[in-house]
């Protein structure tokens, strides 16, 4: 209560200080809607110590909420168990970090919280899910196991964790919370499947743009209609084609003799310098797949993804330049929609897209240390190559705080980065070009962001012994694969 009073005083002060040009804001009931980027997912899982570093929780803390900003907190080792570095193996080729899952499963810490959580973000949710998804806390354990088995998408158990009552959708709970300030950052899961499966295919790996546009309009429209006086701050969509998951591995290997680039081999031919290889390829590359025989590989191609001989959609690991271009055009179209819908309902837009580009291109200097979006050693990105690290979310939260101070006249201090950076608890860099990102982790990513897409080809390729010569495609209809119910 004391904190809410503090927050109300802050809001009143903000109202008094705000001139005519600045939007008024009441932060006393702060509600967040979104996906894993808003939920504070780090290393692919949700766990309390990183959920406390979620963007909305950090903003709420700076706004005076203390511990009263409610989130669906999870105990160690997280749900799903977080990725961690198992070993940094030094080999003749360089450093080969092994990344895998922690042991065990986390438990919900506050499932009986009274009323909707302040943070209603659901890991794996796309825009349409905000309108239709429900979840029952009593199904959490079972759904988590189904997700681990590849039978349901990640958003299913997380809807159980966040929504709990088996009846109401995220938008309904957000409205029911009678929020005075809404943070909405949604849409990444409408497009992320293209990265994790390495295929841009609307209707399969990507939500058709018209569907996204309709859903987004309905989400913001419903919020505005039911909460006419609330402030709504919307984030636009990051260019996920620039995520380290899609940019860390080069489309070539370097010839140690002369430094020249030897292109990797995809099913559709040699990769060019503008093509990309996702982290899912690392297990395959470690076995020589995708590498020409002359360069010490097997000569077998990396899977590109697409329809296989049984007309089933298979995930791949090669992102062609044309697919990346399509993704970027799609994201531009999403952001144009977000801009116009926000304007129509009187919401403000935080340009996360430009911020993300800046973090990728330039990084940040904190206390003399340069941090950036480099995989493994950059400091701002998770071990899954997609989500932020705790520090990454804190850096972004400070940018949002700056934006809110400038836009709404709030007077929030930035988040203190020292304990996050130094763990009170170059330059030089570990090169992450040769590493092993476990196939299991890659498959989970595919299942999370593109449920229904098959990964048996990826897994089969990873299981092949290194010495096997290139062979003609065989009929795999008798082999078990992971089938996800549509």
């Amino acid at each position: 209560m004391k904190n809410l009073r503090k927050v109300t005083v802050l809001s009143l002060a903000a109202l008094l200080l705000a001139g005519g040009a600045v939007a008024q804001v009441d932060l006393s009931r702060f509600v967040a809607l979104g996906d894993s980027l808003t939920a504070g997912v780090v290393n692919f899982g949700s766990v309390e110590r990183f959920q406390l570093l979620s963007i909305p929780n950090l903003i709420a803390t700076q706004a005076g909420y203390g511990s009263s900003f409610a989130q669906p907190l999870v105990s160690e080792p997280g749900l799903p168990p977080l990725l961690e570095v198992k070993a940094l193996n030094v080999t003749a080729l360089g450093i080969s970090p092994t990344i895998g899952l922690k042991d065990g499963f986390g438990q919900p810490l506050n499932p009986t919280h009274d009323g909707p959580y302040n943070n209603l973000a659901i890991d794996g949710a796309n825009t349409g899910d905000l309108l239709t998804l429900t979840g029952n806390i009593f199904n959490l354990q079972e759904d988590m196991l189904k997700y681990a088995g590849g039978l349901v998408g990640k958003k299913v158990p997380f809807a159980d964790l966040v929504l709990r009552d088996g009846q109401t959708t995220p938008i309904q709970q957000a409205i029911g919370a009678q929020g005075t300030f809404y943070w909405v950052l949604i849409g990444h899961n409408d497009v992320l499947g293209a990265i994790t499966t390495a295929v841009f295919l609307p209707g399969v790996t990507v939500t058709p743009i018209e569907t996204f546009q309709q859903n987004f309009q309905m989400v913001l429209g419903a919020l505005r209609q039911n909460r006419p006086n609330a402030t709504i701050l919307v984030g636009n969509i990051l260019d996920v084609s620039r995520a380290p998951y899609a940019t860390t591995i080069n489309p070539y290997i370097v010839n140690p003799a002369d430094g020249s680039h030897i292109p990797l081999i995809g099913e559709a031919g040699l990769l060019t310098e503008s093509d990309r290889v996702s982290l899912g390829a690392s297990a395959l590359l470690a076995q020589g797949i995708g590498i020409p025989v002359a360069a010490g590989g097997t000569g077998q191609p990396l899977p590109e993804g697409g329809l296989d001989s049984q007309n089933q959609f298979q995930a791949g690991v090669v992102l062609r330049a044309s697919e990346i271009a399509q993704m970027q055009q799609y994201i531009a179209a999403m952001n144009a929609t977000i801009e116009s819908v926000a304007a129509a309902v009187g919401a403000q837009v935080m340009d996360m897209n430009t911020l993300y580009d800046d973090l990728v291109d330039n990084g940040r200097i904190i206390g003399g240390i340069h941090v950036d979006m480099g995989f493994l050693t950059g400091g701002l990105v998770s071990l899954d190559g997609i989500h932020g690290s705790g520090l990454g979310y804190a850096v972004i939260a400070n940018e949002v705080i700056d934006f809110m101070n400038a836009t709404y006249g709030t007077n929030m201090a930035p988040v203190n980065l020292r304990p996050i950076l130094l763990g009170e608890s170059s330059a030089t860099s570990v090169t992450a070009a040769n590493f092993v990102f476990s196939t299991e982790a890659a498959v989970r990513l595919v299942n999370a962001y593109a449920p229904g897409v098959r990964t048996d080809k990826l897994e089969a390729a990873a299981r092949q012994p290194r010495s096997r010569q290139r062979s003609t495609p065989t009929d795999r209809s008798d082999k078990p694969g992971i089938r996800t119910p549509r």
Binding site: A87, L88, I365, G367, G368, I369, G378, V415, N416, S429
Partner: protein, 430 residues
Amino acid sequence: MSKVKGIALCAAAALLLTPTLAHGNGFALFEHGARGVGMGGAFGATANDPSAGYYNPAGLAFLEGMQSSAGAYLITETSKFTGDDPYPGAGYKAELEHQIFYPLHLHVTGDLAKNLRWGISTTAPFGLGTWWPDDYAGKFITKRVDLKVLNLNPNLAYKVSDNFAVAVGFDYFLSQVDITKSIGVINPYTQQVAEVGQVHLFTPDWETGSGWNAGILWKIGGGFSFGATYRSRVEMKYSDAEASFVQFGTGYADFDAIVAGLLPFGDNVPGTSEIVFPAEMRYAVAWHNDVWTVEADFVRMGWDTFETLPITIEGRPDLSSVRAEDYVDRTTFRFGVEWKTSDRWAWQFGYLDDPTPVPTASVSPLLPDSDRTGYSVGFTWDWTNKMQVQSSFLYLPFDDRSTDGQDHDNYNGSYETTAYLWGFSLVYRF
């Protein structure tokens, strides 16, 4: 002559031992004679003892016989840092390690020919010594910096008339630099910064640079005098520096092994750096009678030549850096009064207003500079006909300086600094 050389060499050797704390204008130092300091450093139009070798060499022309002035300053400084969000955080505190510095000065002058005199001055015109606690939050920017600069400055002063003298001189700079800082890398296991080692850049030998200086002193009449001096900038290339790297274990053996392979631990790697020391232009006007001397000096330092501090580690562009400094030219106002209370005693009082050349974005733990004012008091006592004892005390409070969120390294907060200087000079007339 050999006595003089001997003295000069001894003084040079002594001066070699002491880094000096910057408590003036950027990292410039002005304490080269106790009487001059007692007068707030406003001595360029009076310049009537051997310390004129620094304040205005043209003043040497009016001295008689062989004279020397030798002395030292004891300098101590406190600097307290209070952090701001986002780094190192509101309320974070760190304090400079306490040190006492004792820069020495030696001026000797004598006749060369009719109306022509020589002078040799050895002073420390620049210096810096900032030591922070080993574990403070800015350790990745700097832990310890020591900069020593020695100027061996021979001058020739010519008395054109009883009222007018000119001088010209050569400045031979000897300098050593020593910088230590931590190396931080993101540990993939913790995804946080680990302090994996420390780098120490130093000059094993003295590096050299040179410049020149000139001065005029004009006794206008009616007790008034006017002085003007110029000291050129000096480009100092530290071309034979070395960098040594020490590794700290993180507790993760494979990570330590990787870091060991990436950094040249255990070997000294050649490195270079460069500092352009600013030119100094001084205009001084004084009035005196038998009892009083009143003087005002305007000293302009051409700091805008100090744009960057490059540190290059040979063959390792990843470990090299160019630090933006972007200092700006500044004029210091100095005012001094001397009151001769008897034949043997005189008292000096001074005031100085010294704006900082360091722009806000360059305020850092390397040099937490700020605008400062100074208040000085001193005395001279003619102990015998041949010997004069000079002593002065300078109190130098700095304005509190905030980085205003602009620091290049994003180490933000404010610094509260004060310096205390006490010194003496012994003038001997041979």
